[in-house]
Symmetry: C2
Subunit: 249 residues, 2 copies
């Protein structure tokens, strides 16, 4: 097994960082790594905003339900799906690109491009001995994020990536059984098999929580998921994305 | 610079593979690497379908505008945003999760989760000396992909990932200038600066094509993008995603 794969498999989320900023060289390597990812038809439909202003970081932390590490870290990146650049290009080249840019297809392209870039950034950071945590909590209030970072039309902030020197290392959470996530030649149709796999995984997750909390917590994965999903979250998103000029038709 | 970062920065797309299948061990390492990626609130909202059936691979190749490497490779993975599992969980746990699963927010979560997993898979493959190419061309006809791979409601195939032993190595395409993609504290507002950056990049891309084609091709990036985007593609996507029970509200 080589270093890269070992690193990928050893990933743990870090939510506690030293008060020590990344160097410009580290930031550049992370961004260049993000840019090296594949991009759909060469569109490069994403942007990255590095946030260093302490006031802005505090605001982003508040939006993310007061998670301290959103303000306190080595560097904070915001990954955005970005079709604004292509709107400018349409003007430059005198072509009408509106229908394309407003389509669900191109919205998906922007989200996928941004996520591929982000995962390269995350791995590059980890390869430098840094820890990372994705921050979906920014989506609690994208209107505020947009105003704070002066984000134009046809750009959608998707998530943050907090990076820094870890002060403690978390356990690795067990993932779904491989055969539950990976299917061959067709999607696994047998609901009974599917449910047995989920029950086995539930036992594994319950054991994990018991061991980690000294018995205080023993919830299963399916109960965790069902409780979370029974309360719809961020239901403003559909309209907000449309107002940003994306995912319209 | 360490091995992982060197590998990330050295990424090149490979579209020509030896006729030599990946071993079960290689496939397992790639899928486990995908699973090790971060996932939003632990939802693990994706599935991966490995396609080995030669007839199905030929069909997928046709859908992707007859790109030969979609049929001829070491292994072909299809990455899907997957909320079907969570619909089953809602039933198991007696909770109504419909509004959540149909939301644009959870659609985005599925797309992001699948893309993060895919990029880990791509890097793991490259770390084993294999080449990769993402195949967005599957989105030319997702209805056919869905029927071919027996994909249920609330699952959306996003792209393929062809993996295999490379027979030739492509050049690396220059990326947008770092300062065009990476902004600090706020989105770059100065359209004039923005356009100068694009013009500089245009020159770089034109030079790249001239060098690569012995002068036969010298198009700029902005002309390439504008021509592509002036012809809206895959405009069925909005309705198709809704019919799959996602991105509805």
């Amino acid at each position: 097994m080589n270093e890269t794969i070992e690193r990928i498999l050893a990933h743990r989320t870090v939510r506690d960082f030293e008060n020590r900023p990344l160097s410009p060289g580290q930031i550049e390597t992370i961004v260049r790594s993000a840019q090296a990812a594949s991009t759909s038809s060469f569109v490069q439909a994403y942007s990255i905003i590095g946030v260093t202003d302490p006031e802005k970081k505090r605001e982003l932390s508040k939006i993310s339900r007061n998670q301290a590490f959103v303000a306190d870290n080595g560097h904070f990146f915001v990954f955005c799906a970005d079709l604004h650049r292509h709107a400018v290009i349409g003007e430059m080249e005198g072509k009408d690109v509106t229908a394309s840019l407003e389509s669900t297809e191109k919205f998906m392209v922007g989200v996928i491009d941004a996520a591929l870039a982000a995962q390269n950034a995350a791995l590059a950071a980890e390869a430098m001995g840094l820890g990372i945590c994705y921050v979906g909590g920014l989506r609690n209030d994208l209107e505020k994020v947009r105003d704070l970072l002066k984000i134009p039309d046809k750009v959608l902030p998707l998530f943050g990536l907090a990076v820094g020197y870890p002060t403690c290392i978390n356990d690795q959470k067990p993932r779904l059984p491989l055969e539950h996530v990976y299917h061959e030649n067709e999607y696994q149709q047998d609901e009974a098999v599917y449910k047995v796999q989920l029950e086995q995984y539930n036992q594994e997750i319950a054991d994990y929580y018991v061991a980690r909390t000294g018995g205080e917590r023993s919830d299963t994965w399916t109960s965790q998921m069902a409780n979370m999903l029974a309360q719809p979250q961020r239901m403003y998103m559909h309209d907000f994305v449309e107002r940003q000029g994306m995912n319209k038709h």
